[in-house]
Symmetry: C2
Subunit: 332 residues, 2 copies
């Protein structure tokens, strides 16, 4: 296992400390709880957004804490849900009196622990919860009942975060997050496995000419294995199911997000984006906004995922609103 | 070779087309010449900045075209210098009457070809040239006389670009670029090789417990091989020579740039940044600005480099000035 680390058990606190040092104008780190908090403390009267999950998906979620996006992110061990105490601490730290939205990727552990945290603050802080489940690859899976929450989570966090920043109520921000989740779908594939540090060996074995299609962000099995193909073909394997599931039709307008799994270089992601753009153009679907880069990753896994969000004027306006986080920044 | 590509010979044009499609508000692609141009054409009276080099280092250079940074980037084949015709086309396309600065990483092919391009426009467009050579790892190397240009190039492009955007003359912008290059040093290491697509096999062989210290961005040999160590130790191997060469002393203020080589995930880069920050704190050197991410890469190579720039008020102000490119954006 070749990684840029010290001790395996120190990876998460050290990465958080690195993020905190590099982005001290944006975030502060609660090192006791492994929580990334927006610098400057809770904003009075603003709905606060809390997310979190296992580490190893960076920049998700800590890199999305800041103006116009999250107020806190709870970091679990690599590929392991944070515990309720972390979520409780985050919820208490960010509450500005207007309520807190928990954005939870659909994994059994995350759901249970966020639910327990909400119960721990019940009667003191109003908490709403949105579960993201945008992965069309599989119905139930290794760690989920129902679909997994993947790339669409980034878009939920950005767009709901913008609505909260604009002063919307907890019910309104929650409705926006639900709306984004209802209009977003994703699917990914892996060219290589990743190595969970505590395990020290690849999560799964993949032949030198094999691709896992419909991979989960923890290396969970996908729909099927295929032989390595051109990226045009591989992009079809992902775009097709996403377009079908979203029932996108000619004339629809989308945000197209081509995400790297962590080990694929940017030149390949731009080649993949070119494929995705040509496939969508062929279907008469127009790309109004795009995002290309490694934003929700699986450690050093090579591969990519495609996320499409059906846009309307409201979602477009909230997407374009200013954001100032370590990983996404514009308008500021 | 597992990559997200179609035909090997189409990687560069398809990646450029992908960049152009995803960032059409920022750049336009000259597909005939494989040149990335700032959208909106040349700015009358503004000094224009042109850089370029072999592909495979993305987002360098095309991802740095836009407001406050480059006006054009010439993309060669992977790890191969662009040809003079590309640089000539770029220079002619961006000239706004105030002259053009060529920012050239110190590799023999790039130097010769940019020089020929400058000769092709001599008498018509005033061209100045700055050669970056910030890599302290080796003196001469496989592709260079003198030191290689690496991570410092990103900072030269940002800071000189800000000066040009502010209306400085060609002589002033050139002086700023020279000043940044004189105050910046870098060194990197690799945990794995990369695979040049046209070759199809790893550029070099590295044992499962070996690290190449002082690696070049094309996989050129470094100073030495070491056994894999903690990232604290590995960061010392890089920070020490950089601090020594820059003659940094207690009380100095720097921009610290921890760069991923392409295949290392962000969680590891933040762990590495934490190491670098602690080492610098121990030496009494303060980090006034930082950059963490994969900005000058070597395809899917795993590893990282450390770049330090000695800051003064002028450089700080120009670093903070607005920038709007695909890969770096703030203030806009």
């Amino acid at each position: 296992m070749k990684k840029l680390i010290n001790k395996v058990e120190d990876i998460v606190p050290e990465a958080l400390r690195g993020l905190g040092a590099a982005s001290h104008d944006i975030v502060k780190i609660d090192a006791t709880n492994n929580v990334v908090l927006r610098a400057g403390g809770p904003k009075k009267g603003k709905v606060a957004l809390v997310s979190g999950g296992g580490s190893g998906h960076e920049p998700l979620h800590g890199g999305f804490v800041g103006l116009g996006m999250l107020d806190a992110a709870c970091a679990g061990a690599v590929f392991t849900s944070p515990v309720p105490d972390q979520m409780e601490a985050a919820t208490r730290a960010v509450d500005g009196g207007a309520g807190v939205l928990h954005i939870v990727k659909n994994y059994t552990g995350d759901i249970l622990n966020f639910q327990m945290a909400a119960e721990l603050v019940a009667g003191q802080i109003e908490v709403a919860t949105v579960v993201t489940n945008d992965d069309v690859a599989v119905q139930d899976s290794l760690y989920t009942a129902g679909r997994r929450g993947v790339g669409g989570t980034v878009l939920v966090e950005k767009i709901a975060g913008a609505h909260a920043e604009a002063g919307a109520s907890l019910a309104e921000v929650t409705a926006t997050a639900v709306k984004v989740n209802a209009n977003v779908r994703s699917m990914g594939l892996a060219l290589t496995s990743c190595i969970v540090p505590a395990a020290g060996v690849p999560t799964f074995q993949l032949g030198g000419d094999e691709v896992e299609v419909g991979i989960g962000i923890h290396g969970e099995p996908g729909r099927r294995r295929e032989k390595l193909a051109s990226v045009d073909d591989m992009a079809e394997w992902l775009v097709g199911p996403v377009v079908d599931d979203l029932k996108l039709k000619r004339g629809d307008s989308v945000l197209a997000f081509v995400n790297g799994m962590g080990g694929s270089p940017l030149i390949e992601l731009y080649v993949a984006y070119d494929s995705v753009a040509r496939i969508l153009a062929g279907k008469g679907i127009s790309i109004a906004r795009s995002l290309v880069g490694s934003y929700i990753t699986s450690l050093e896994m090579a591969g990519f995922s495609v996320t499409l969000l059906r846009l309307d004027d409201e979602l477009l306006r909230l997407w374009d609103a200013p954001v100032h986080t370590a990983a996404l920044r514009w308008g500021v």
